[in-house]
């Protein structure tokens, strides 16, 4: 007997398809929800049933709790999977599901609320004995700041309590600058955020982003599936993730895993969750907990041979967590976004051609298809390429090989950026941190550019020759029509877009 009869998938794109795939394997029916823009989407076609939520703006469809829950009840669903993004970390959806008698495949509302608030999450971590970046958060005054900075050591950071996304942060390197910087930071925070609360944190040098995957059941059992390293980022967004993290010792890994489990247990957590840490100089510090499945969860699945969505469904139905299998080898994920590789700006258009990679150890999670339009309404991620190898070296080589096989025509993608990262000596050497992408050379080599130029010219020659125009007399003679005849035959198929 399957644990549920029918699951509503409250999401879109690749993650909706990801959930549908596991549900199908478990003999559970699925209901897809979609906006008008997603009528033809792959996940809609693969689900058992589909319900239109409304307009293409997320607020009119995927973010409307009332519509989502109504779709679940009207189709007789007994569970709801929120995916990631959209409403996945919204305690009101979890609560509404509870009221409607639909099992929310995620943590209870209280756990979402606590972890969703920076200050509350920090307090919970402190209570659970999880290390925090040392600093001063409460009753901040000039005198107390000076004392706190002496204790944690310079450099220190002054952060605005209402800041975020890198805004409202000042780095102070010496004590004599501290008080003045504090006054300036306060004035700035007041004018920028309307809130002059400032706190102090030790400046963490060369941080790495290392996170622990946990799974908890309703019987108080919490297990972890080791770590994922996600330091290859651009604009604070992850691009390449791997497991294991080369910087961790077995002892540190166990300490981090235990800390993550303790934190989850302390808030009565249920389901899949990720505790994010900063790693620096052999120590780790709590950043935040994401109370949902992560984009990069397949990295863990490849390394542990586990299906995390299946585990989510099982524990949601009241079953106990299974002990994690022994991890083996090395896994790497690359996010393929529709974006300009030089500027990282989104690239819109129609996918006119797609070649998918294959071969040993390769997994592609994607909902793209030939002819799909990349629209401005949603996230620009097209696919996640995940590889597994016997060790890190093999995994990197395999990932590069598969990235070269994966070909998407119609929009620019992050593939060249990922390739450059994987090929860089810094990444290959393993001693990298969250700013690695800013340092590596992302320009193609002169030899590759030369080859591209040769291929472009040769392609034009061949097409012209085929159209019978290549045998034309040299320039200047003959007074031919300005438009080469072959142009008509190729014009109809062009769907490329240049990125801005």
């Amino acid at each position: 007997m399957p644990p549920f009869r029918r699951i509503l998938v409250a999401n879109r794109g690749e993650i909706a398809l990801r959930v549908i795939r596991t549900a199908q394997e478990m003999g559970i029916e699925t209901v897809a929800v979609y906006s008008e823009a997603d009528r033809g989407a792959l996940y809609v076609r693969r689900a058992t049933m589909a319900v239109c939520l409304g307009g293409s703006k997320p607020s009119e469809s995927y973010l409307d709790i009332g519509k989502v829950v109504a779709a679940a009840t009207s189709t007789g669903c007994d569970a709801l999977h929120p995916g990631y993004g959209f409403l996945s970390e919204n305690e009101d959806l979890a609560e509404a599901c509870k009221q409607a008698g639909v099992e929310f495949l995620g943590p209870p509302p209280h756990a979402i609320t606590v972890m969703g608030d920076k200050v509350e999450a920090r307090k919970a971590a402190q209570k659970a004995g999880v290390p925090l970046v040392p600093g001063l958060q409460e009753d901040v005054s000039a005198e107390r700041l000076v004392a706190a900075a002496r204790e944690v050591g310079y450099p220190v950071m002054l952060k605005a309590a209402s800041g975020g996304g890198g805004k409202g942060i000042r780095i102070v390197r010496e004590e004599k600058q501290l008080v003045e910087a504090f006054e300036l930071a306060r004035a700035e925070a007041q004018s920028s955020f309307g809130d002059d609360r400032i706190y102090l944190e030790k400046f963490v040098t060369r941080p790495r982003h290392v996170e622990i995957q946990v799974m908890a059941d309703k019987h108080g059992n919490v297990v972890h599936y080791g770590e994922r390293e996600c330091s290859v980022q651009r604009r604070h967004q992850k691009l390449v993730e791997e497991s294991p993290c080369v910087a961790l010792t077995p002892e540190l890994r166990e300490q981090m895993g235990q800390a993550a489990c303790d934190l989850a247990r302390s808030v009565g957590y249920v389901g899949a969750g990720t505790v994010e840490f900063l790693w620096s100089e052999g120590r780790f510090y709590f950043m935040e907990m994401n109370t949902r499945l992560q984009v990069e969860h397949p990295v863990t699945e490849m390394r542990y041979g586990v299906d995390l969505v299946r585990e989510q469904i099982r524990v949601g139905a009241g079953e106990k967590v299974s002990p994690p299998p022994e991890p083996r080898g090395h896994a790497i994920e690359v996010r393929v976004n529709a974006e300009d590789p030089a500027t990282f700006f989104p690239s819109l258009g129609k996918l006119t051609r797609i070649n998918l990679p294959g071969g040993p150890g390769v997994r592609l999670d994607s909902a793209m298809y030939r002819g799909m339009e990349v629209t401005p309404f949603y996230d620009s991620m097209l696919a996640k390429l995940v590889v597994h190898g016997a060790d890190r070296e093999q995994a990197i080589a395999r990932c590069i090989r598969a990235l070269r096989e994966l070909r998407i025509v119609g929009v620019a993608t992050s593939l060249p950026t990922a390739l450059a990262a994987l090929r860089s000596p810094e990444f290959a050497g393993g001693d990298y941190d969250t700013s690695v992408l800013e340092r590596i050379d992302r320009k193609p080599t002169a030899a590759t550019a030369e080859l591209a130029a040769l291929a472009a010219a040769a392609a034009r020659f061949l097409l012209a020759e085929r159209a019978g125009a290549a045998s034309a007399a040299p320039a200047g003679k003959g007074g031919r029509d300005d438009t080469p005849r072959w142009a008509a035959s190729v014009r109809g198929q062009r769907q490329w877009r240049t990125a801005p």
Partner: protein
């Protein structure tokens, strides 16, 4: 037939001569033997360069060719001899016109230039917001702003003419 390619500001000249089933490519005093086969969909090619095999997508849009090879993506300008000669004549007459068009539908967040401004290559002319991101649109070459056809706060369609330069 001779072709001139332009990629990241670098011009290269290629001359192709048929040698039976193969192509002799001459460039910068070097000769390479090519075997180029069009595969299936009209833009995928199997390219053998002196026996080395490359899987290439080359989508030809008149004088622009969009190339994907070795995991990289390029936009290569390609002119044949006749086009080059024609452009040289046209260039002398008209002085060269440049147009900035919206690459995607969006909202004009900022207009950084006014008619009469002398601008350098790469200078941001207009900032367009699309997909919740601000995209600076830059001049492709140096020139002078003739007309500005958009206003701050205005929604524009993909392909809309925003700025005209000469």
């Amino acid at each position: 037939m001779k072709y001139v390619t332009k990629l990241d500001g670098v011009e290269r000249e290629f001359e192709f001569v048929r040698e039976g089933g193969k192509l002799l490519a001459r460039s910068a005093g070097r000769e390479q033997l090519l075997d180029l086969a069009l595969v299936g969909d009209g833009a995928t090619f199997s390219l053998l360069v002196d026996g080395r095999s490359y899987d290439v997508v080359a989508d030809v849009d008149r004088e622009k060719v969009f190339v994907q090879v070795l995991g990289q993506r390029f936009v290569v300008g390609v002119e044949d001899e006749r086009e080059r000669a024609a452009h040289a004549v046209a260039g002398n007459k008209a002085g060269g016109k440049q147009e900035l068009r919206a690459s995607m539908p969006g909202i004009v967040i900022d207009v950084k230039v006014a008619p009469g401004d002398e601008i350098e290559e790469g200078r941001t002319l207009v900032v367009l917001e699309a997909m919740k991101m601000q995209n600076p649109l830059a001049a492709e070459a140096k020139g002078k702003v003739v007309r500005v056809l958009c206003n701050k706060g205005e929604a524009v369609a993909a392909g809309a003419l925003l700025v005209e330069l000469e």
